[in-house]
Subunit: 191 residues, 4 copies
DNA sequence: ACAAACGGGACCACCCGTTACT
DNA sequence: AGTAACGGGTGGTCCCGTTTGT
């Protein structure tokens, strides 16, 4: 069905544009222009307006990251390897975007007051989901529960912060440094 | 003298509003409304337009953070204490703002393509300055040069990331956790 | 169909207002107010902004004048009669507008640097078109080619100048005088 | 006294800018910028606001043209020579300005409703003055009164119209053609 | 005679959402 | 499922005039 494809392309374009220019800095006009989708699809696919697009973009971005985390843990022998891989892929994406991408969730979240906004709420859910995914991965790799639940948010914070730094420095270095530190951190926990 | 007071109030209000709603999400209208300054002063004090206000806000925010870092290191006996204090004050500010503030630089930077924007450039300068300030502080507290220069960006990344996390979780917890980790990290280096 | 009617009404109102108050002296606000068209239609019908409206107005005004010229030559037995009629109708329009109308092209062109402006270019095209129309009419009435091509621009200049004079004097007299002279001029050529 | 010099330079710059961009298209900001005069002089030298500047500019432009007309008739042996010279100098000025100048009066007058505006009134006075100057010159050269009073406005109209045409065509040709015609016209009258 | 700040308002561009009409 | 027009409202910029100090 071609219906979903248009919608999907709009969302994916939104993810990219929101990362680059922010939520308020992205207009419907540019979105449909860059996505190559028809004007009429706006109200058709997103009757809830721009906010609905925002939520969809945040969730899509969240899905991708969660999938990446899961994939890295499944494909790795150790937790440290998984974390390295996760940061590494994130660094690749950053470089590939010409240092215009950052966390697809944070870029939207920074413009919202979380407690009074569906976009803020969606962003929070995304963060919690990633922390859970990391915790699950850690546990599957041998890190025990109380510690895994402490470590997971810290790893997310490290990635989140290093993405901001990398974007501004226009180097992958900050992500690499955070990755090294994160891997070491995990290694010392899981033996 | 009441001359620059208007301009100053506009900048300070901008720092606050940019943190809460982002750069594009903050209009001149709301700015002058919240700052209580006349509409006509906009073009007078910021002939370069909103961008000039943005640069001023980023630099003012950058100054405040740099001063905080310097102050914490001067007032503390050990590097670990200084880092704890720094994160602690940051957490206080976050709580005091009702979790609407984030890094005054990151919130603007996330909406900009750094390499083609004066705001992006200003944000980068701010980040570099903080890293230098932290590195200086670490060295003054006994951390040796090669390691101090590696540690400083990592600490900045930790704070930056934890602010994002705290804003979304609406808890100071992520900052506290990052603080604990950062302090421990520094402690193990400087003995 | 009511589709292009809004756009058309805006253009026609623009022609009138530009003649009266000039291009820069006419605001979108007054335009939509006098045209009775919605504010939101501006960007829809004229995505190129005010300049696009200006070009449309110049071309519409140009069309009307070219049509008038053609009509006068077709309806007249001699070239002198045609020229008299053309000036006469122009004088009528000037009087009917209460001496606020002038040449729809000149009023816009006077505010533009022709070589670096699409409005200047549109104005030039209009002038050339009128000269060609007059030359064609003269030739159809018996004036031979080398002379017809010299006479046509002169007649246009006479009308153009007399409109300015009439507007300032608030009399149709200057146009009448120019008409008499122009008719005589043509009569002495075509025998 | 340096007081008058600043005022004078502002007026002369206004004459030039009004010709190029029109009255409404010229702002105080650009005026003081191009004139190199201080901001504070605006309200000091022109307490009547922009309108006062406009009247001064129209009158200064009017003076210059009237002086030119007088000068041409004084320096010439015949009326035809005088007219040729007058048109010739006008053409030079047009070329020298890069085809951005037109009649200093018409460019302002086109944006005004004459009967309800001091600028319109000033423009009318200017036109009447030129016509009188030309009539006087013609009579001094031997053209008899009823005819001199008919011819003068026509000559002004010819120049006025040819300036518009020259500006748009970006050639001095229309002025030259009008000059030739005007000279011939005068020659046939004064013998 | 000039300088700097104020002050409101208007300008044009553009935004997002809705409604009719394919 | 998509197009085109509507519709009001806000965006940032800049304008013109005034006031307050030299």
């Amino acid at each position: 069905m071609a219906e979903t494809e248009t919608r999907q392309r709009m969302i994916e374009t939104a993810v990219r544009l929101f990362q680059r220019d922010g939520y308020h800095g992205t207009s419907w006009r540019r979105l449909v222009q860059e996505a190559g989708t028809p004007w009429g699809s706006i109200h058709h696919h997103f009757p809830g307006g721009k906010e609905e697009l925002g939520v969809a973009a945040v969730e899509t971005g969240s899905d991708a990251v969660a999938a990446l985390i899961g994939h890295c843990f499944e494909a790795s022998d150790s937790a440290a390897d998984a974390v390295s891989r996760w940061f590494e892929v994130s660094a690749e994406l950053m470089v590939a975007s010409g240092f215009t991408s950052a966390c697809p969730v944070a870029s939207v979240a920074m413009e919202m007051v979380p407690q009074s906004n569906v976009l803020g709420a969606a962003s929070r859910r995304a963060l919690e989901r990633w922390e859970a995914a990391v915790a699950d991965g850690l546990e599957a790799s041998g890190v025990r529960p109380p510690r895994s639940r402490e470590l997971a948010p810290l790893l997310v914070v490290l990635l989140e912060g290093s993405l901001v730094s990398a974007r501004l420095h226009e180097t992958r270095e900050p992500i690499a440094a955070a990755a090294a530190h994160a891997a070491e951190l995990v290694r010392s926990e899981a033996r």
